[in-house]
Symmetry: none
Subunit: 217 residues, 4 copies
DNA sequence: TATGAATGAGTGTTCATTCAT
DNA sequence: TATGAATGAACACTCATTCAT
């Protein structure tokens, strides 16, 4: 929902703007993110932002949508086959890869799940949260049908646990390994050594392995 | 680190103040919490807050510390015996009990883990996060020693996964079961039926069972 | 004082522009009228307005002048004969007719008498106000000469009273009869039934009758 | 609806504030009146205004209400006896007196009848407008009952004409006599000579005389 | 010890106008 | 001649904090 002006913007100008906005909203939650700070950093007029977007909410929503588009592109090749665990592992290795790339976009993805005082963002949040939950629930249900998940597990409940491991848990382990935390990494991402990259892939595998054993018949 | 004036306060005045502050910081994150709202609700002078505490940060830190004290008291009887899983289950049933009691204190506990723009709260956050992680890590290490956790698990890593299941995951499942969410529950807690209480205990058991199987040798 | 470009504009483009500007300035006082709204509605570039007119003031002044030209044309046939009251009645029936036609032009006529923060419009306003006053004063003076207005009336003073009845008063009665008000009528003019038209002509007659009796010898 | 803070204000501070606000809202319509200008002129902090009033609307409404109170006090002695014309004359001499006093308060009275884009002021406006109309209509109806107004006059219609003469008309004549206009007088009121005062009283009499003759049987 | 008025930097947003293309 | 992105001063409003009483 950006204005046409935004699409017509000269590519480098547009890129600079997106970069600044991305940075701001990655570093601060919606309420604390400051339009003034964005323009100050860019050295452009405050009014310009409102040529591109209706308001702060509109700008934030665009960032979230853009993140969705970027992730969809990356995840294009996600396999619909294999065991539940293979598919989960593939999905979350992709997630880890996202954090290795520009972690600010990954941070935006999480922002969309954060509660806000702004009512116009509530629907978005609930929608995103529901999407994650039902994706995992369906996966578990399929796992039961295929005999990879034991029957006395309630898929609706276990989905929350799986999300806990793979979102909070995996990220937390990830940043501990990189000796920083979410905020620190977003603020000052650094190149990843091959050694670290291997370790991270290993982390995702460990998480999935825990879930596999935990839910297996 | 409240000022001496706070300690000397008449007990009922002090209690009323704590209640109002607790409510405010449970309902809103640090940045959105409003000193004005607290005093408005209490009908006291704004200046009073600054007689008791240095500033908003100081007040928040006291609440977090007070929560620690209260939890320590509740958890005093936590068994240092039994298998790792029995001890985990006991710990998290206690956690669930905390949410059934005054969920506002429980919310404060989580607040201390939320990132903020306020630099003076960063250290606190990191410290709390580290405490949780090392408690779980120690538990897992002990589990390995006692043969309840398999040896190819890295306790430092698995601790994050366990935290993911038991914090994000368990709470998420909890509130889904109560048909609300974290914010809703803090804003308007209601009595829990015996039926629900049983269901909640069951949730904690399911979470621990998942971890037990997931980490068992 | 539009720029030459405005005159050279293709007739239909020009007409569309005038219509949009007319609408905007009829619905909103000068300060609230929005150039942005005009161009948005027309789908033309903002810069275009400044190709046609120096600025917002210039545009407004042209509308007022254009209104004067249109009214002069309509009033061309105004009788210079008959008693003062016949001439007044004719003038104000013409006025009522103007409101029945495109009330937006009529509204522009009134706008020119409204005070503004814009200093460059002050002279215009005073000039128009003076024109109305002196027209009525001359009429009353002639009435005295012809014995239709009593001699102890001060024409310079009574002119203001007459204007009060025929502008504020008559319009006010008019819109009360149509069960709306000035703003409502401009925003959504509707066709007038023959019955209403008769009632309105009657209103003008009542107003003039009041003045006739009030000023007669 | 000012906050208690406003009532508790030191009298001279309060008076200075009222004076500045009065000036701003007398000189500018609601939309153009500027809170920033008020505080700049007073040399106080912007926040102070919001210690006294909820917002700009609240401040404006207080001024209107205060004007009502001041007028009510002045008009305390308004005769409920005498002919319709005597009562009208008394009412409007009082009105003229108001303009001779601090014309800014009188201007505020008129402001309450001006249309605004602010929806919360619409109800106020309609209410005030209706009060004036029904006061005059009742007066005319009584006049018919007592034989001072002829029966073929429609009181609901004539009320608008009377208001036109006594509001727009009388004020217009008044300021013409003082060789200025409404805005000018509010901006720079000056002392009135005894000679002028007499002339003004005479104006009100002339207006009423016109109406008396115009409406008499 | 309590008060609460004053502060002022901060917020998001609007809009007439300009000017390079 | 038309375009429309850029501008920047202006707006109303918020809120933690201070300090004289």
């Amino acid at each position: 929902m950006p204005r046409p002006t935004f699409d017509r913007l000269a590519p480098d100008k547009r890129a600079r703007f997106v970069d600044a906005a991305l940075d701001e909203f990655a570093r601060h939650r919606f309420a604390e993110a400051s339009v003034s700070r964005i323009v100050a950093r860019l050295g452009i007029a405050k009014g310009s932002v409102y040529q591109y977007f209706d308001d702060k909410v509109d700008l934030f929503r665009w960032l979230v949508a853009e993140h969705g588009r970027r992730r969809a592109e990356l995840a294009g090749a996600m396999p619909a086959e294999g065991t539940v665990w293979e598919r989960l592992a593939a999905a979350y290795r992709a997630g880890v890869a996202e954090w290795q790339g520009d972690p600010r976009w990954a941070r935006i993805g999480l922002r969309s799940l954060e509660p806000t005082d702004e009512p116009r963002l509530e629907a978005l949040r609930r929608e995103h949260q529901a999407a994650v939950a039902s994706f995992l629930e369906a996966l578990l249900r399929q796992g039961q049908a295929e005999g990879q998940v034991r029957d006395d597990v309630d898929p609706a409940v276990a989905a929350h646990f799986v999300q806990g491991v793979l979102t909070t848990g995996l990220l937390s382990a990830l940043f501990a390994r990189l000796d920083t935390d979410l905020e620190g990494w977003v603020a000052a991402p650094r190149a990843i050594t091959e050694r670290e990259a291997a370790a991270l892939r290993d982390l995702a595998d460990q998480a999935v392995e825990l879930l596999r054993r935990g839910l297996a018949p």
